[in-house]
């Protein structure tokens, strides 16, 4: 690096020089105060008060008035130089020609170096020169009123040596001032250059870091499995990664700097173009799926706004799309299978009833018509056959009910649960009377829901509560309700035989029974049907129980509020829920 010597002062140097001049002016104030005080201190020697006060004051007045009158000028500095020369003359005069007072010329010369201006040595030198030349000439020429030197004769040789030595001092001080200014300027210039170089280096480092980050980003973009390209607002391609080369079968060098719309004319009429314009207009991302060129390939396209245009990521979504399509196909097949199974279950259960009814009827007829011909064993066998047939018919009826559990073809209506529980009282009138059972159901709400499923739930749970009791014990059943933000919560509590915690889940499984038919008759379908119905109503069911201390079945039902109810009953075709329960059974 080469530091060039400044030929023209730049702003930094001018500012620096001005600061330096101001600092020197401040310093000079102290020096001038010292000069003035020194004059006063010398006055008592030879009673030179008039000279001490008069000349010092006028000298100071000259300096400060020049400074005040022309503040922008450096005239006051030159006046100062002359004033320092005058102070020297004053001191010499005050001390009656004492030679040592000449040192003040050199002191003044040294003081002036602070301004770093060699020209300031000239006025003080001129004062010394003119003063010596004029007075020595007058003294030597016999002018009686001049008392210049204590020497007997101030001849030309002495004068020349005197002045030459003094001039040498002034010259050296001027040289130091010049050197100081020169190297001060040079230093400022170097500092400025260094600052510029540092700034440049910082810019380079920053650029390098940006390049590094860009390279890293490009490496990432090149290594990702998605096609990526960047387009500016005019549609010019600015970036094109390796996957984009593969996907579009275009090399990077072919596309960079070229218009996307010219390279791919079809894109200009495609959904891509509208999405592209949307991204530019709204400055927000867009996502869409489409197939390009080959219909068996799907691509997920994401467009993001960038500083210069749009960044486009294209992901090959064919595998996911095929999986989705396969799943949809499977769902369709499953739905068809469920449909068939449902039909089969319905038909089977329905059609099985007819021959079974025939068997039971004819067995009953045999028992009635040939009762006298049958011995006791014959009668017992016929009874077993009729009983088995009846139980089989109950199973078939329950299966039919289970298969229909998903078919909610009725409409939503306002269901008063208190009325429903009144119906339960009537339904279970016989067991209630025989066992003196009690059912309480305080403050039950009116729900907007399907009436039949709710009735069936309550019928199953209340029926179980009455059935699973210790013999001789008076059953007590309580039905309560609680309104939650999204659901209605109900509980059906009894004082029955209770359930082991290990059986809490098992009781809801189809055909699972905890007791023998002789102890508590049943088909093992009641709670399974109840669970399915509740789940179809958007709720859940669970049981809390302790063996011998009764059980509490807690279930929820999704809430339908009044406004939703209004919209459901007003919208034609709404309010019906086709729920495919058979498929769930199969699953």
């Amino acid at each position: 690096m080469e530091i060039t010597q400044p030929t023209v002062l730049n702003t930094g140097q001018i500012s620096s020089n001005n600061d330096q001049a101001k600092r020197s002016d401040k310093l000079i104030n102290y020096f001038l105060a010292g000069y003035f005080l020194l004059g006063l201190a010398l006055a008592p020697f030879y009673s030179t008060w008039l000279i001490a006060v008069g000349v010092s004051s006028i000298s100071l007045a000259a300096y400060y008035s020049a400074k005040l009158l022309l503040p922008a000028s450096s005239l006051h500095q030159y006046v100062l130089s002359a004033v320092l020369g005058i102070f020297m003359a004053q001191y010499i005069y005050q001390m009656h020609g004492m030679f040592e007072m000449h040192f003040f010329a050199f002191i003044g010369s040294a003081v002036l170096i602070t301004y770093q201006k060699w020209q300031l040595q000239i006025p003080i030198m001129l004062v010394v020169l003119i003063h010596h030349a004029a007075f020595s000439y007058l003294q030597n020429s016999g002018f009686s009123q001049v008392y210049f030197s204590q020497l007997n004769e101030f001849d030309v040789q002495t004068f020349v040596i005197h002045i030459m030595l003094a001039t040498t001092i002034f010259f050296i001080c001027g040289l130091w001032a010049f050197q100081l200014r020169k190297y001060s300027d040079l230093q400022v210039s170097q500092a400025i250059q260094m600052a510029e170089l540092r700034k440049e280096a910082e810019v380079l480092v920053e650029r390098e870091e940006k390049n590094k980050a860009l390279k890293e980003r490009n490496n990432i973009l090149e290594s990702i499995g998605d096609a990526f390209f960047a387009v500016d607002r005019d549609g010019t391609i600015t970036y094109w990664n390796a996957m984009a080369e593969t996907l579009f079968n275009r090399e990077k060098v072919e596309v960079l700097g070229k218009s996307l719309w010219q390279l791919f004319p079809k894109a200009a009429q495609s959904a891509f173009c509208s999405h592209f314009e949307c991204v530019l207009a709204n400055n927000g991302p867009r996502h869409f799926e489409t197939s390009y060129e080959r219909r068996d390939h799907w691509y997920e396209t994401n467009l993001y706004p960038s500083a210069n245009g749009v960044s486009v990521y294209i992901k090959d979504a064919s595998a996911r799309k095929q999986a989705e399509m396969h799943l949809q196909q499977l769902n369709k097949e499953l739905a068809a299978s469920n449909e068939n199974l449902e039909q089969f279950a319905y038909v089977a259960s329905h059609d099985l009833q007819e021959p079974l009814r025939m068997i039971i009827s004819f067995m009953s007829m045999i028992e009635l018509k040939y009762n006298s011909l049958l011995d006791e064993n014959g009668k017992k066998y016929i009874h077993f056959a009729v009983d088995g047939g009846k139980r089989m018919r109950q199973i078939i009826l329950d299966l039919l009910s289970y298969s229909r559990a998903g078919h909610l073809s009725e409409k939503i209506e306002a269901v008063n649960l208190t009325d429903l529980m009144d119906e339960m009282q009537a339904l279970f009138r016989k067991p209630l009377r025989e066992r003196q059972a009690q059912i309480t159901y305080p403050n039950l709400p009116v729900l907007y829901t399907y009436k039949a499923p709710i009735r069936q739930i309550l019928q199953n749970l209340v029926g179980n509560a009455l059935k699973y009791q210790e013999p001789g014990k008076i059953p007590c059943v309580t039905v309560t309700s609680e309104e939650l933000p999204e659901h209605w919560r109900f509980s059906v509590s009894d004082n029955g035989i209770g359930i082991e915690p290990g059986d809490f889940e098992r009781i809801f499984v189809i055909f699972q029974r905890l007791h023998g038919k002789s102890a508590y008759p049943g088909t093992g379908l009641g709670l399974a049907i109840t669970k399915k119905i509740i789940e179809n109503l958007g709720g859940q069911i669970k049981v809390e129980s302790e063996k011998g201390k009764g059980s509490t079945f807690i279930f929820t039902i999704a809430k339908i509020n009044a406004s939703e109810y209004e919209s459901l009953i007003l919208a034609p075709g709404r309010g019906e829920r086709g729920l495919r329960m058979v498929s769930d059974i199969v699953a």
Binding site: I58, L69, A89, Q145
Partner: protein, 199 residues
């Protein structure tokens, strides 16, 4: 521009004022001392009867240095007088006649001038016909007034040609009984004596 010109004039004016101050100050020193109205001239060759300590010296000439510590002119030539003492000690008796309103330390003055006697007696001035300081009075061995005048024409006392006091001593030592002195030597310059009034 006007401001520059004004400043220039102002500075020139101040420079002239400084010059005038120096000139005025010099003018004050260059004027002869006014002769007091009650001054009684004492002629050369008059026999002088000095009082006190100065009386009864040996037969050597006596050089009296009239010195006023409060007078700048008197302080100017201290060095010159010391040089004379150094040069002519042994050949000439020296004494300092202190003329002051106050009571200065005569011992200190005596030591300052190399141990020569210092006296303060206002009558000596009148006896010698001195009315200013600094003044030199030279008496010969018989107490006759040989010289009464200035030390030098120049205030710096550096002009050998007008080194009047020295010239007088040399002439006396050479037994020059009819000395001729420069009129400038006999016209008193310097400070008036304390209590003296202008003529």
């Amino acid at each position: 521009m006007f401001k520059k010109i004004l400043t220039g004039f102002w500075l020139v004016l101040l420079a002239i004022t400084i010059g005038l101050l120096f000139w005025y100050n010099d003018l004050v020193y260059s004027r002869p001392t006014p002769v007091p109205h009650n001054y009684k001239a004492v002629a050369i060759v008059t026999v002088v009867k000095l009082p006190g300590l100065l009386c009864g010296y040996n037969n050597k000439p006596l050089f009296l240095h009239f010195f006023n510590p409060d007078c700048p002119c008197s302080r100017f030539n201290t060095r010159t007088f010391k040089a004379l003492v150094k040069t002519y000690r042994g050949k000439v008796n020296f004494a300092v006649v202190v003329v002051s309103k106050t009571q200065p330390d005569l011992q200190a003055i005596s030591e300052n001038f190399g141990g020569i006697p210092a006296v303060q007696d206002r009558s000596i001035s009148a006896i010698c016909g001195v009315y200013s300081t600094p003044q030199a009075v030279l008496l010969d061995g018989s107490n006759k007034l040989y010289y009464r005048g200035n030390y030098n024409r120049g205030r710096y006392c550096n002009d050998e040609k007008t080194n009047f006091a020295k010239i007088a001593i040399d002439q006396l030592l050479q037994n020059d009984v009819h000395p001729a002195f420069n009129p400038m030597a006999l016209r008193a310059y310097g400070c008036q004596l304390p209590g003296c009034k202008k003529d």
